[in-house]
């Protein structure tokens, strides 16, 4: 099994296009952060304390408004509590530190999904279109192992992209803003208590929650590859689904059953922010839905790949 994964890795990393994608990943992070840094520089003025004080005043004013949404009220109160704590204990806001850029960069995780789809769409279907699948399948390794090794290689590739994102964003923001706030804590209100959390841990939590959607899309890409055996089709379809999914979701949000859609559940950060797609959805509900989709998709890929004749 290790050898099979080594083989898949060889086929991924000995191609120029893979390194172009990794380079693009780094380039997007650099570009995005640089623009953010440049704009932030001109907006920065009075220092973080006065900015936070201003923000707190704003939230307080909002609180005095009549017929306030319950959810919003809780949110304002939380922000006020956090800001007060920060000012009291002289804890720098992320604004103007390396962490602002690093945290913002996490949203570039969508690129990890897209780039992984591009490689994943070709890793299985490409063997069929090039005809190499014939020589691959006549070895003492059954088709389940072959499929699994390709799947693992894809997860490793998405990890490589994630590490690229992490390392480049930390280094670049460190250079731009200085490394002096590297141990800045994350202040949050949990169960009515102010707690200091690790910024780094929170970052990786976000990464991994984003990673779940990457895994789901890789699974979809594998399924399409296994059914249609065409790289173009699986890459096109998967990226199409990735974008169409969110649009579709907005249209269908009013229907209750839309919460069973895959796209309504792929973004688990909705629970981190406390704003689920539909009321009554919980983290365990989403995980349950994801597991069902995951198993069904994999079952289809597996059946299609192991049972069908190879006539390529």
């Amino acid at each position: 099994m290790v050898n099979l994964v080594l083989n898949e890795n060889m086929k991924i990393y000995r191609r120029v296009r893979t390194w172009v994608l990794i380079g693009l990943m780094a380039a997007f992070v650099i570009l995005g952060n640089f623009i953010m840094w440049h704009e932030g520089k001109s907006a920065q003025g009075e220092g973080w304390q006065s900015e936070l004080t201003q923000e707190r005043e704003q939230w307080s004013k909002q609180l005095t408004k009549p017929d306030l949404d319950e959810e919003l009220e809780a949110f304002y109160k939380e922000r006020i509590a956090v800001i007060s704590y920060q000012l009291e204990h002289n804890i720098h806001s992320t604004q103007g530190t390396m962490w602002n850029g690093i945290n913002e960069s996490a949203s570039l995780g969508i690129l990890i999904t897209i780039f992984t789809i591009i490689i994943a769409g070709d890793i299985l279907a490409g063997e069929f279109s090039a005809g190499t699948i014939k020589l691959l399948l006549i070895r003492p390794a059954n088709r389940v192992k072959i499929l699994l090794s390709k799947y693992l290689a894809m997860l490793l590739f998405s990890m490589v992209l994630l590490l690229t994102l992490f390392v480049v964003s930390v280094l670049l923001n460190g250079i731009l803003y200085g490394f002096n706030y590297i141990d800045l804590p994350l202040i949050s209100l949990t169960d009515g208590q102010i707690v200091e959390k690790s910024m780094l841990l929170n970052l990786w939590k976000t990464y991994l929650l984003n990673g779940i959607s990457t895994v789901m899309y890789v699974t979809i890409t594998f399924m399409i590859s296994s059914v249609f055996r065409s790289s173009a089709m699986s890459i096109g379809f998967s990226i199409g689904i990735l974008f169409a999914g969110n649009i579709l979701l907005e249209v269908l949000q009013r229907y209750e059953w839309s919460k069973y859609l895959l796209f309504a559940n792929t973004d688990l950060t909705q629970y981190l922010e406390g704003r689920p797609f539909q009321d009554g959805m919980t983290l365990s509900f989403s995980i349950g839905v994801l597991v069902v989709y995951f198993l069904v998709f994999n079952l289809i890929s597996w059946l299609m790949f192991t049972r069908r004749d190879v006539t390529a």
Partner: protein, 310 residues
């Protein structure tokens, strides 16, 4: 030589839709034999080969390789097989060497030394580190042979191996297959639609037509005519006069002058001395007489009932 066949097909049938693409195929190949699989395009050669290597499922019957069932004991059975299925498609973006490393990793016990050994066997030492994209068709074919031999298989399966090879390459391959069967006791199953190729390569030939096995025969059966009438060629001075003299004789058929200027005709063996005597009496100098072996092609058409292809 062990008595157990290296490969055995038992009532193998492949049905697609309502049609039997392969219909009740049964044959065995003993160790050390070069076994030819002959038939027009569409006869089912490639389908059969794909079933043997497990790329296509078997509807009915079973295939055993060294006694292991390809369906239920795939990994143990395929371990003994090296194959090229149609064109040897390799990873073009990898070097020839990395292609071999790739396949070596998939079978336990293939060392770095073995890779080097196989590379020199197929004479690719000078270009093995180039990307396969840059290889000529002949080089790809040789790399294909290399990947098939890497794990010292007992059974080598080659589907249309001479496709795209120049005559020199074909001769090399032929010599090489002979060498393998003699020195390593390897068994070879080779398919082709080129009858003349099989004639030079194989020990036994199976003839396949529309998915059915028509006949399995030693190659001699095809090359040595069994009929009393045979075709001969005579190289003579003044062939026109010679032919005029021969026309007066009884028992000579299809007399004609070949493109090379040889007199060609069909007759009984017993008549040859009489013909020569007659020509010498007419003061025609004779430089040579030879029997034209009936080609596999003729025999093939005879067996399959003439020109119906597919």
């Amino acid at each position: 030589m062990s008595s157990e066949p290296i490969i055995s097909l038992q009532n193998v049938t492949k049905r697609i839709g309502r049609k039997n693409i392969i219909d009740d195929l049964t044959f065995e190949v003993p160790q050390g034999e070069i076994f030819g699989f002959l038939g027009p395009n569409g006869a089912g050669k490639t389908t059969t080969i794909r079933m043997i290597v497990g790329l296509i499922s078997i509807t009915k019957g079973q295939i055993l390789i060294k006694g292991k069932n390809i369906k239920t004991e795939f990994e143990q059975a395929i371990r003994h097989v090296g194959a090229i299925v149609e064109n040897p498609e390799m990873y073009k973006y990898l070097s020839g060497y990395h292609n071999l490393v790739h396949y070596a990793r998939m079978v336990p016990g293939v060392t770095k030394e073995r890779i080097d050994e196989v590379v020199s066997l197929v004479k690719l030492e000078n270009s093995i580190h180039d990307k396969v994209r840059k290889y000529s068709l002949g080089m790809r074919q040789r790399l294909g042979v290399a990947q098939a031999l890497l794990h010292r298989p007992s059974l080598l399966i080659l589907d249309e191996p001479t496709n795209g090879l120049d005559p020199e390459g074909i001769r090399e391959l032929r010599d090489y297959l002979r060498y393998l069967t003699r020195t390593e006791g390897i068994t070879v199953v080779v398919s082709s639609h080129l009858l003349s190729e099989m004639e030079l390569m194989c020990d036994r030939v199976a003839i396949l037509q529309r998915g059915k096995l028509i006949d399995v025969k030693p190659i001699q059966y095809f090359t040595e005519g069994s009929d009393s009438y045979q075709t001969y060629q005579i190289e003579a001075q003044m062939p026109e006069q010679a032919m005029a003299a021969m026309r007066q004789m009884v028992g000579i058929q299809g007399l004609k002058l070949s493109e090379e200027g040889l007199i060609e005709f069909t007759t009984e063996r017993e008549l040859i001395p009489d013909i020569l005597e007659k020509l010498m009496k007419n003061h025609i100098r004779i430089y040579g007489v030879q029997r034209v072996r009936q080609s596999l092609e003729d025999k093939f058409l005879e067996i399959t009932g003439g020109g119906q292809v597919g």
